[in-house]
């Protein structure tokens, strides 16, 4: 720190401008975030930058400059420095931190893993044909530990196999072959570590929204409202049909169950009596066919 302070006194012009630029971006946006950009190729960052342009501004800067810029700002903004790590970029937006998180998650895509990198989870090669004709690649696959053979004139993977366990380094040979097989074990994209919004720092655990939960909450809320309206007989355009149907069904139930002689339920009463008669008749006929008349014998 002491050394840094020492340097501050001799800050070159371009660094001062960079710091000013960061401060200005923070002040001109509602929300800013710290994102990890580890393992993302420069070309991909350019593409993401373009994709985000309507929602957020992405700025890659040196950590030391970011830190100095943040320290010059008020409120709890300097606390954001604890999310600075290697390969950190800043992102600025006028959307909510939740929206920012969602948009950044969408930048994540499967990517090839490099030789020597640690597998984030088990890397599995699935059994099945490849697009390669027989050739040297067969030997290359085999020597990388992938069980390949020739099948129907094509190179094929003989069996599904875990070729690298989670937490282990991926050998260079294997990494090359995985790329050839278009197996992309990494999910790479902007990784939001924290977002600052009006004095509050949001971490990803809070920002990750389960939309299906909201969906089911809405369903439940709508159901609650419908139940309440119908059960209290509150008529609205959404409930009047159900209320009428309910009243009618209850009336019909009462008419039939209490045997009220009303033209509205006579059909049902007659049908009910007939079915009861048939049911009793079949019991009687089971014992003695002569107990019932011909019509009732089956």
């Amino acid at each position: 720190m002491a050394e840094e302070k020492h340097h501050t006194e001799h800050v070159p012009e371009w660094k001062k401008n960079e710091i000013e630029n960061i401060i200005e971006l923070i002040q001109s946006h509602k929300v800013f975030g710290m994102v990890g950009i580890e393992g993302i190729l420069a070309a991909k960052i350019q593409k993401i930058r373009r994709d985000l342009k309507d929602v957020a501004v992405l700025k890659v800067s040196r950590n030391t400059l970011t830190e100095r810029a943040l320290n010059q700002l008020g409120e709890s903004i300097p606390e954001m420095n604890k999310y600075l790590d290697k390969q950190t970029a800043l992102v600025f937006t006028n959307e909510s931190p939740f929206k920012l998180y969602k948009v950044l998650e969408q930048t994540k895509t499967p990517s090839p893993i490099k030789g020597g990198a640690i597998a984030p989870e088990d890397i599995i090669v699935q059994k099945g044909p490849t697009s390669f004709p027989p050739g040297p690649i067969l030997g290359e696959l085999q020597s990388a530990g992938i069980p390949a053979s020739i099948d129907a004139g094509k190179v094929a993977v003989k069996e599904t196999k875990v070729v690298c366990k989670a937490g282990e380094a991926v050998p260079q040979k294997l990494a090359t072959m995985l790329a050839k097989l278009e197996i992309y074990p990494l999910i790479v994209g902007l990784d939001l570590r924290a977002a600052y919004d009006n004095g509050t720092i949001y971490e990803p655990e809070l920002l990750a929204i389960d939309e299906s939960q909201y969906f089911s909450d809405i369903t439940r809320a709508a159901q609650n409202a419908f139940n309440l309206a119908v059960n209290t007989a509150y008529p609205t355009s959404a409930t009047i049909g159900t209320l009428l149907a309910k009243a009618f069904a209850e009336s019909k139930n009462l008419g039939v169950n209490a045997v009220v002689f009303d033209s509205g339920v006579m059909d049902t009463l007659l049908a009910k009596a007939h079915v009861q008669m048939t049911s009793v008749a079949s019991k009687a006929a089971d014992k003695d066919a002569n107990a019932v008349d011909d019509q009732l014998r089956e």
Partner: protein, 69 residues
Amino acid sequence: MEYIYAALLLHNAGKAITEDAITAVLQAAGIEVNDARVKALVAALEGVDIEEAIAKAAFAAPAAAAAPA
């Protein structure tokens, strides 16, 4: 349901469903007859096609047999 049974009994035997006939059947069964209900029954059956009402039940019955419950 005894009033309905009486009506269907008469109908099945090809007899007219009148207040007197229903009363007679119910009384023969030892049932104390409520005149208003007899009147209401006969009135409610006016214009009802009993065969059709029963036919609907016939539809219901086989369906019921098919039901898993």
